[in-house]
């Protein structure tokens, strides 16, 4: 089995051991599940949004590695009390910076966190039935990296077949 050394830093380890804002949110305004075509991981993002379009609470669940757990956790902190527009603009690079760096092979774990959040925000506006001007019409790179469940299953099945 070939492996990469993964010298996670203290912050990643701490958030892995004691993740903040972990778990399903029963009174969420919106939630989105997103999967990672790179490694098959999935995360769920839950947002509680008030009438001013400010995120009051955010939480997550992750079927992923320590880096994914840590980046998702820190993102839920970073977007708290932020408007949806501000939250949309948090980049995965900013998260990696905030967490004190990640091994490069783990960047996609942070990209997935951003993708899932953006999917949730887009879904919120879809449900509301309107699109604010700042919301890009086309899916952004991060959203494209965060697949819906069926799409993920399909891609994984293909990759597994290709492997043989």
């Amino acid at each position: 089995m070939s492996r990469v050394p993964l010298p996670y830093n203290q912050k990643v380890l701490e958030l892995f051991r004691n993740p903040k804002n972990l778990g399903r949110m029963e009174d969420a305004t919106v939630s989105a599940v997103a999967g990672n075509p790179m490694c098959g991981d999935m995360i769920t993002f839950y947002l509680k949004i008030d009438d001013e379009e400010v995120i009051r609470k955010a939480s997550f669940e992750s079927y992923g590695c320590a880096a994914n757990i840590a980046t998702s956790s820190i993102l839920t902190e970073m977007i708290k009390n932020k408007t949806l527009k501000q939250a949309w603009n948090v980049s995965w690079k900013k998260i990696v910076e905030e967490i004190g760096g990640l091994p490069s092979i783990k960047f996609h774990c942070g990209i997935l966190a951003v993708g899932a959040l953006r999917r949730a925000i887009r879904k919120y506006y879809e449900e509301k039935g309107y699109t604010p001007k700042w919301l890009p019409k086309e899916l952004t790179f991060e959203e494209k990296q965060a697949l819906e469940e069926e799409e993920l299953a399909e891609r994984l099945a293909k990759r597994m077949d290709g492997q043989q």
């Binding site: 993964l6 599940v33 079927y63 590695c65 994914n68 757990i69 091994p103």
Partner: protein, 408 residues
Amino acid sequence: MIENVEELIKAHEKLEREVYLDIENSSPVPEEVVEAMLPYFTTRGYGNPALTHKPGWEAYEAIMKAAQKIAKYAGAKTPEEIAFTPGETEANNLALIGAALASKAKRKKIVVSEIEPVTILHVAKMLEEKFGCKTVKIPVDAEGFINLENLEEAVDKETLIVSIAAVNPEIGTIQPIKEAAEIVKTRNPNTVFHTDFSDAYGKMKLDFSKTDIDLATISSYKILGPRGVGALYVKQGTKIEKIIEGQIATQKFWPGIENTPLIVGFAKASELTFTDLDKNIGHMRRLRDKLMNGLLSRVSDTLLNGPSGDKRAPDNVNISFLRCEGEALTIELSLKGVYVSSGSACTRRLLQPSHVLTAIGRRFEAAHGSILMKVTRLHTEEDIAYVLKVFPEAVQRIRKIVGSTVVS
């Protein structure tokens, strides 16, 4: 990143117990073995075994005695049939590439199974690209067994070499290796039969000289010897060539100065394993079943990967914990002093799940939460009891993070 590693190690302070089960990837070396090696670093046999002085002759003597011992345990006819290499990877390379060089690339077909170790598959791929060889991969069933009829069909007059591991290192499947070698030789006596015997050496009884096996890779660290040394059994008359160039050494297939202390350590570890082999195997099997059955009964939603009972290597445990990501689980267990590895895509450079688990038909999710463990003759009942105590909590913690994200 060095500071990070220091912190990671510090996070492990005050552990109640440490149990190392990642024998697949490296192993500790017992005191006894180190003691046997030490004089060859400092006071004896530090010379070049090919040269004419006392420290050289001492080295030569030590290497010959080591070869004699290993030849005896492996059932080789003569010590000359044991070719020391710097490890299993090198021995596997020597087997396949060495056979290709010796055949002058006249025969071009390589036959392997889908679940061969990564080294074998990579070397086969290289031979395809550089020598125009063609690899045929025979499938395995849900427990990892090859089908001898498929093997028979795959071998023809074009077949250069067949390589099938006697025991699969990931899922412990014990292949009918003797029969496989016979079938291959009956089909084509010129075909070279190689087996990666790394996970079988010291885990079962087999005399190479009583089989049709031509080449067999054996490993030192997998029997608690030092890393950096291994051997290829080369049956007399087998056509292979050396694959690297350099100063001719006592080892005709591996130029360069022999690493006498490591070879001595390898022989010592072999001696400790093979003296009382039955007892050692019995001990491992008992602990294996305790660990395996203990985990399967204490944790819900699990799958055993590979066969059980006598068809499985006595040391191997491989279980998939569904709704649980493997890399996260290895870290959680490490923080509790239990060291294991996972076949999850997240732990791999190419972010691909284990090819072995895929080949036995496991779905992505099963590979994602798979954990590989191996017990040794030195593990104790207390070690296993400790693992069984902390493991369920660890799975539970990771599953809590997964929450409702996946439903199985």
